[in-house]
Symmetry: C2
Subunit: 199 residues, 2 copies
Amino acid sequence: MSSEKLDTEVRQDQITQAALNLIASHGFRELSMVKIARKVGIVPSAIYRHFKNKEEVLDAALDQIQERLHDNVGIVCNETSEPLDRLKRLLIYHVKLIRESQGILRIVLSEDIYDGHSERRIKVYNIIKGYLDKIDKIVSQGQQEGKIRQDRDAATISLMFLSIIQQAAILWHISNGKFDVTRHAEKAWRIFNEYLEMK
Amino acid sequence: MSSEKLDTEVRQDQITQAALNLIASHGFRELSMVKIARKVGIVPSAIYRHFKNKEEVLDAALDQIQERLHDNVGIVCNETSEPLDRLKRLLIYHVKLIRESQGILRIVLSEDIYDGHSERRIKVYNIIKGYLDKIDKIVSQGQQEGKIRQDRDAATISLMFLSIIQQAAILWHISNGKFDVTRHAEKAWRIFNEYLEMK
DNA sequence: CTGTATTGTGAATGTGCTTTCACAAACGAT
DNA sequence: ATCGTTTGTGAAAGCACATTCACAATACAG
């Protein structure tokens, strides 16, 4: 009952995707090599042909998340050059990302992903920091252009911006979809936008 | 090598405290009956004299967290009757709570605490909702008194308020204390306060 | 002082997990 | 077609864990 033999590159991709989907749908706690293997259609030990260990699989999954976040920023920056529009669209994309791949961002927040190993912690911190930096750039540019009030810290504004969605996403998840993220995001954005525009 | 025999009530308290401290310092993932027992000074199986299983221990720990959150609200409401002052102080107490008992609030956010069992998920949701309701009351009252602008949803404002600290707390933790929560809380509060005061 | 309920102990069970390893099947270059 | 490399397999080792159970120590009521 042998599976088809595939290149390491292909398998690595499949394994990473499987891991991401499993985390998204059943949480980090439920993630096991057995389940990843089942989803890919191979046997657990076969994973070790393509990754050194579970750690490496997780790292690859984190890389994917980072990519998706950065992609979103790239997209909105291409779509419009208006700073406030960029932020608004980024908010929408972020919410969409959360809704589509359930927990993909809660992964970043999940306590358990660190598991004592501080390298992973640093990696996660850098992912968030990288994302925040990009938001920061949008804000700073908006301030220079006079489109966003200049009397407040760009970093603080950026973090507040991220906080809005993130916390809502958590509530959304815990409530089993009962809590309306999109609605909250809209309302919160109105408040935030109004503040940023103030002179 | 027998331990002193103590009443179930006392042991339940010790066990709950031990569990909370362990989660706070080493995360939810690391929590085990063995470690709880070691901290209390008894043998793992002895825990089962006082709790039916691990689930019950966790539930007791969650109850404790809820209590602390509600206590904070009670304290600030006794300290002052000015809505904005109440919020500001609550922010400070919240940050303090986070700083003191490391991860006590990340527990609420931790993916793994649900572990598939939806009862626990509901319980956590209710804890947050209860806390948010109390914040909501402060905001609503402030709006009625004309101390807080009335053209925005109290619920949205409350959630934004909570988000500010919560996300910062997460960053603080991930960065191993490098990120300055207190500083961010202060800056964010200034922004938030200014907005709420606007007519 | 005696008997009974309560609390603690150590060993054992069972489960699920990651990881290793010898071996087998498929592939690719020559 | 063949040989070496890559990928997949199944079994097993080894670990941590929650939980159970018979038994021992302790407290306490009468």
